[in-house]
Every structure is written in C-alpha cells, then in structure tokens.
Amino acid sequence: MMKSRRSFLKISGACLLGLGVKPVLNAFAQAERMEIAPNPNALRAGRWALVVDITKCRDDCTDCINACNRAHNIPDLGRTKEEVKWIWNESYEHAFPGVEHEFVEERVKHQPFMVLCNHCDNPPCVRVCPVQATWKREDGIVMMDFHRCIGCRCCMAACPYGSRSFNWTDPRPYIPEGRMNPDFPTRTKGVVEKCNFCVERLAKGLQPACVESCSSGVLTFGDLDDPNSEVRKVLGERYSIQRKPELGTRPRVYYIL
C-alpha cells in the first residue's frame, strides 16, 4: 500500500495530539483516588463464634438483651406482632425443637435461652436475598446493608431461626427517650434487620455488647479457626449443642446445657 507524504504527516500529527491529551486523562484518573488505611485496633478472626453457657445464666437477668437494645437503637414497639428483636429469650422446646421431650430435666425445661442470629456458615438468608443486601463476610459474620435492603422479606422466610425482623413502621418514635445511641443508625420503615455480632464494635477492638454486659460469664466470643482461642477451649471441654443442626445451616452459636 502506498502512503502519500500528506497522509503520513496527518497520522503523525494525530499521534502527537494523543500524547498531549494523556496528562488530561491522568488528571481525571486522579479524581477517582480513594485511599483507606487498615485499622490496627480492629479484632479479626477467621470465623467468629459465640458460646452460650446456659448453666451460668440467671433466669431473671436480661443484661445482654438490654445492652444490645441500647447499642443498636432497637425500638420498643410494645406489639409482639411487629416487634424488632436482635437477642431475645426462648423456651427450650422452641429453641431446640426435635430434641425436646416431656421428661427433660426440670432446670432446662424452665430455663430461658438467649437466642440470636446464628451467623450460619451456610446461611439460607444470604442465598435468597435478591439484591445482596445480606452477605457473609470473610470472618463469617452474616452482615446486612440497610442501604440496599428492598424489604422483600425473602430472608425472613428463609431463616429457620426467626432471627430477622421487619420494620413495619418508622422505629424512631419507639426508641425510649434518652436511650438513643447517636453512633449507631436507627433503621427505616421497610428494611429487615438482625444481630450483626457487633461488627461496629469489633472494628474498634471491642467485644460484642452482649458479651461485655454479661457479668455471669455466660457468653464467650472468639475465633473458631484459632485452636488456642477461648471459644475453642470452652467447646473442647464441655458438651455443646446447636440450634436445628439437621438443617445444614452450620450455626456458629453454641449452647452448653
């Protein structure tokens, strides 16, 4: 193919112009800059888990529930049908259906069991969420993004533990006066919420609010992947059960009866 002197010069000019435009493109690229720094204080784990030693739990104590409610601005609606709960008390037969029977030990029969999201290793709520508003973090915590939730409630139908609550109404007016924690957002009408294993506290190097509030040593929180962790020690020494393990969700909350 013949190239005239004229077309050669034209192409060279275009190339030079292209080089001239490069710094402008760089400037645009810089506008995208976003840097983050790792937080040295944050608690990290391969797989977070909670052990509940129910033998140490006092019947009339609700310290963990109150601490959670306060930390996460959980409204007190006074209507059980629309209630929002992260930690709540359940009877043995409701917490562990399938293993209960009529001759079970009297102590266990009347013992309230603190129950919460099990942060399953195989979470059915995550599988069904159509918008990935809930997902499993690398450290095993099943997390929620309230910004993204569309309120379809598929996760509520999928969760076999009833750990998820829907906001039927704006929760703000139902947060008791003076109990508002300004550091944690309230939720809005139309989103689903549940226990988040206090990710906001772990990021600051603090234990979950429920664990910190318990004065009887019922709750142990730690890393299942670390063989020297407190949870592994407790689980290795005592016999523990999980809620509905037959469903294959692999819950990460263990109970010692």
Partner: protein, 128 residues
C-alpha cells in the same frame, strides 16, 4: 434561501427564550443571596480540599458507606496524608454540627432535594 429573514428572526427569538433563565440570573446576580453556611468554628480544613468536597462529597459519602458497611474498613487516608474515621455522624457531623445550617441550606440553594441520610443516621441535636 426562501424567507431567510423570518427564519433567522425566529431562531434569534427561540434562542432568546431558551437561554432566558441563564442570562436573567446573570443579570440579577445580586438579587439571589448566596447561602450563609454555618462553618465549624474550631476547624479550618475538611477531610479534603473545599472545592473537592463541594463538588464530590456525595460520591465520597457513597464510597465511605461501601467501605465501612461492605468491606469493614473504617479509616480514610486523605490526600493531605491525615487519617479520618469514615463516619457521617462521628467525622462529618462532629464539625458540621448543624444539618439545618449547613447541609440543608446549600441543598436548598442548589435545588437538590435533601438526601435520606437522616432517616436512619442520628443527627446532632440542634441547640436552638
């Protein structure tokens, strides 16, 4: 060109009408009052330069949200080399204490609807 005069006259009128809002506001610049924003008293610089914040705070807030909620990262390294916690209530609203006097005023001036941040995030109590 047939009816050239009419066409050109029509075009001039059309352009005049279409650009009316622009030159009218230019001519009456004085009449529109710039919002008097309540700036923090004890802090002189924001996490990024003012021009960047004015133009891109919404993108930045969205990125902060995604980093904090979805990736569990909470510390922002600014272009000035300082570290900030990525938090609307604990970082932004610590200095810009009044949503009414800062956020809302400028949003009203620019005709941008108030975002729904405060449907959930707790704004600092207005002292007034």
């Amino acid at each position: 060109m047939y009816d050239g005069g009419k066409i050109i006259a029509g075009l001039v009128i059309f352009l005049g009408v279409v650009t009316f809002p622009f030159w009218y506001t230019q001519a009456n610049e004085e009449a529109i009052e710039k919002p008097q924003l309540l700036l923090p008293a004890d802090e002189t610089e924001c996490v990024e330069p003012t021009a960047y914040m004015r133009a891109s705070h919404m993108q930045m807030l969205n990125e902060w949200r995604d980093f904090v909620v979805r990736e569990g990262q909470a510390t922002y390294l600014s272009s000035t080399g300082k570290m900030y916690e990525m938090s609307l209530t604990r970082t932004c609203m610590k200095c810009h204490t009044s949503r009414q006097e800062f956020c809302n005023k400028c949003h009203a001036y620019s005709g941008v609807s108030t975002p729904y941040c405060w449907d959930c995030h707790v704004e600092p109590k207005e002292s007034a």
